[in-house]
């Protein structure tokens, strides 16, 4: 009896330990909500003209379905949209000839400019989409950095890019004007939140747990069929 009680007590102690450790790790994984101190970057404004060509395009110019995406790398819903919808649509239809995807970097917060500049620097080496996916996927590892460029250079290395050229680009903010033009274009359309999606020039509302994948896919297919 005593042994049974002892083993029963030991069992519940084990459960308590698992719950305590598991709970602690889950909370710890959430991280700190405080905004990080980042390297200062210029904000939008000034004499930058709204420029539709400031977007980064995938797919042919004469594609029947044109999707425009305005997003911010620190925006959680933008990350979900990219992971669950955008990235998959580009994978499935990007080379089909039926769809043209134009991505506009639309930084809403001061801390969002650094990753946008990094994405444009990656574009110079033909790795915009890969860098975009990495920036979203690893947001929690760079958003707390005082100088996230160091992380971005690591990502460039992971993507097989010329890390020195990339580092020079991000540290010198060489693509700032491109991001400013992209932002200005979105502002000229009256955009004030992200993600904002346009389908063939019309605003498209993202709905459903798939972040609009199903609906956008239907429209792509319909456009390709000439409907």
């Amino acid at each position: 009896m005593a042994k049974a009680n002892g083993s029963g007590k030991g069992f519940f102690i084990l459960i308590a330990i698992v719950v305590a450790v598991g709970g602690y790790l889950l909370v710890r994984a959430g991280g700190s909500p405080e905004a990080p101190e980042l390297a200062p970057v210029a904000l939008s404004g000034g004499d930058v003209a709204a420029d539709m060509s400031s977007g980064t395009a995938l797919g042919p110019e004469d594609a029947p379905a044109v999707i425009m995406e305005f997003a911010d790398f620190l925006c959680p819903h933008c990350r979900q949209f990219n992971a669950l919808s955008g990235k998959l649509l580009r994978q499935n239809y990007g080379s089909s000839g039926d769809m043209r995807w134009i991505s506009f970097d639309f930084p809403l917060w001061p801390e969002s400019w650094a990753p946008a500049i990094a994405a444009q620097c990656a574009k110079r080496q033909g790795k915009y989409w890969e860098m975009k996916d990495l920036l979203y996927a690893r947001v929690d590892s760079w958003r707390r950095e005082s100088n996230p460029n160091r992380k971005f250079v690591d990502y460039a290395r992971d993507l097989g890019m010329d890390a020195d050229a990339f580092k020079s680009c991000v540290d010198g903010q060489e693509t700032l004007a491109a991001v400013q033009a992209s932002k200005a274009y979105g502002e000229s359309l009256g955009i004030s939140s992200t993600p904002t999606i346009y389908f063939n020039g019309e605003p498209y509302t993202l709905t459903g747990p798939d972040y609009g994948y199903g609906g956008l896919e239907e429209r792509i297919k319909a456009a390709a069929a000439g409907e």
Binding site: R79, D140, P209
Partner: protein, 147 residues
């Protein structure tokens, strides 16, 4: 191994699995920006189309499955321990979980060519639950609560 010992083991393993599944689910829901993955390719796997099943994140189904097995294991420690219906439920649950886990692992290896550390962990836990549930006992004419 006695039935009680197996059920206790299943409680602990299911609890660990539940935390793993909830962690991945919270990542899918956007509460975590990235996964702690070591040398694996967690983000490649978790952001693929195969990370959703019937329109819902796979970790949601995992959380429900681990939660269900946890409940059954606790029930097994009570008066219903060893009963035919419980043994059958454990068999069905454990076998179903093992088959789905095998499917996901095959997808990682053969389609995605990427391995998520947490998925491997969950697969191992699923195998442990399967072994502890001893579903083959449900095929016997009368299920025995003995080890």
């Amino acid at each position: 191994m006695s039935f009680e010992t197996r059920m206790r083991g299943m409680v602990l393993v299911s609890l660990v699995g539940l935390f793993v599944a909830v962690y991945l689910l919270l990542y899918h829901l956007g509460y975590y920006g990235s996964l702690v993955c070591g040398s694996g390719s967690c983000e490649v796997v978790q952001s693929s189309e195969y990370a959703r099943f019937l329109g819902r994140p796979v970790p949601l189904w995992g959380s429900l499955w681990y939660g269900g097995m946890l409940v059954l294991a606790f029930v097994g420690l009570g008066p219903a321990g060893g009963t035919r219906w419980l043994t059958s439920l454990l068999a069905v649950g454990a076998t179903g979980g093992l088959l789905f886990s095998a499917y996901l692992t095959a997808i990682e290896l053969l389609v995605l060519h990427a391995v998520c550390t947490w998925c491997v962990t969950s697969a191992i836990l699923t195998v442990l639950i399967f072994v502890l549930a001893t579903p083959w006992r449900a095929l016997r004419p009368e299920a025995s609560p003995g080890g």
